[in-house]
Symmetry: C2
Subunit: 330 residues, 2 copies
Amino acid sequence: MIKRAKGVTISQVADAAGVARSSVSRAFTRPGMLLPETVERIMKAAEALGYVPNHTARALSTGRHGNVGLIVPDIANPFFPPLIQAAQLEADRSDFCIFLGNTGESPKQEDKLVGRFAGQVEGLVLASSRLSEDRIRAHAEKLPLVLINRDIAGIPRVLIDSSSGVRQAVEHLAKLGHRRIAYVSGPANSWSNKQRRAAIRSAATPAGIEVDIVAAALPSYESGRNVVQAILSTGATAAVAFDDVTAQGVLAGLSENHVSVPADFSLIGCDDVLGAVTFPALTSVSNRSVEAGRVAVSLLLDMLQSHAIRDVRCVLETHLVLRSTTTAVA
Amino acid sequence: MIKRAKGVTISQVADAAGVARSSVSRAFTRPGMLLPETVERIMKAAEALGYVPNHTARALSTGRHGNVGLIVPDIANPFFPPLIQAAQLEADRSDFCIFLGNTGESPKQEDKLVGRFAGQVEGLVLASSRLSEDRIRAHAEKLPLVLINRDIAGIPRVLIDSSSGVRQAVEHLAKLGHRRIAYVSGPANSWSNKQRRAAIRSAATPAGIEVDIVAAALPSYESGRNVVQAILSTGATAAVAFDDVTAQGVLAGLSENHVSVPADFSLIGCDDVLGAVTFPALTSVSNRSVEAGRVAVSLLLDMLQSHAIRDVRCVLETHLVLRSTTTAVA
DNA sequence: CTGTTAGCGCTTTCAA
DNA sequence: TTGAAAGCGCTAACAG
């Protein structure tokens, strides 16, 4: 059993300094309003007592609690940690704290989290939301919202435009002589997935390439490994995967099937989160998740400050990063 | 510009339902105290008005805000996401929210975060804290604290005991005929690092193995890659790395130096976070981070509930996971 | 079982 | 420049 000091309140400081409670409050929020010597006396007393302003009380009184929420589908997916980190850094710069939520790719859980967070945060960043547009709109009416990788008009959003990179990927494969490729798709509700699939299709036609869509339900290593048979049965000589993690699974599955990469099969990932750590090193579409996290939070804080909501649509371009998993067809 | 609904308060619901404010409060917190029909009437009114209890006001009044903090050194290190996820899941079960903090391996930042969180959370989990024992003790006086991978008497802690696994690793290498091995160490303030280093040393002597310590400042891919020269210059034929990420860097560095694994050199990681995704698949010491996260939060919630602090020391055992990066010396 | 009445700790008019 | 006083929205005795 341990005793824990009950918080020192503003009144105790006021008494100790021989001033009114309001003056103590002012000393901490708008010292300019007080005589420097008064401020100093108050601060001295506060210091001596170990006074720390009570965040909750302040929040109740002002309606501002200096927290923003960040909700992601899967922390364990290497796409998100850098984004989270950047978001946190940006929040920190304005003395905001971040509430992190993980939905496990479940829209239901996401809805629940948004509800749980609302009321404790001033605003929310939804990264790669799997919610329906309706739900997102509904939430946006209740509190300031910024979206990452979700394109909904009227709601501020930052989009990592993988089309540019994906297009380069397809052209690269075309140049290498591939004529039939597979796209290993991601989550159905993922905006990025739709975008990538569309980009592949639109780039493939002029390049004279056939595209087969192979569905991997979740963006995961296992998912990727499980669809290798399906990929091979399409007769494709190359594949682009929804993301690097899926691609890594595909890589493993191919190896298990004695298909060697890139000699027998070319593979390209997306998001470039694995760097050169796979073997062979994975060719991938670059990623801007750090900027995305930073910009999203910064946008959100702007909204909070200006009390207005502009229709921002911030697009971040990408490109193909060549490594060792692609080669010309035999 | 968008108008956002100002919150409906308990008073409005009370008026609408023709009861006192306290009854509304009771309907939400202890419905059992009220007549079922009263509760129903209140709920109906609340529903109609779209009433949602104000978390902040409740927190101010009760002193409990249903949040716990979790601070980790580096979200991007694959050791932590599963831990975070598990912690969040466990918190969720008791309707608690998690504040996540990332310190970037900096004690200073960690101290700052603890301060920022205190006052908004009821308790804190410090995972792999890089703080000095003094600082940790100081914080523990101010609010309920649970430690992960930090062994400080009197503060509840859950420890992943890698000694067992590391010992197996050394014995495994001994059996393969290795006589001189290197330990690629981790962060200086890391309890796990000290534990692993000690376990290696104590297991090596009876096995007739010499150990050289090679310091990698940070647990990262880059760090690992950078110390390969140092490792090779010790004349070791095998190495155990502080963690898998570091090991992966070492693997890359070895390959760049044309040292092939396991033919020319054997390598073992720790934490088993990379699964079989490296090439060759990394032999590693198993990891219990999911349990650690779950147990830590559960311990913390217990403390909050019982208002007492028992001297818990929960130890999770580990073992060696054999894959493909070790073999007998030539 | 339900209403009345104080607060929780801080901010913020309004006066002085 | 400072103090007094009225809340912010909710909970928790204490009566009845």
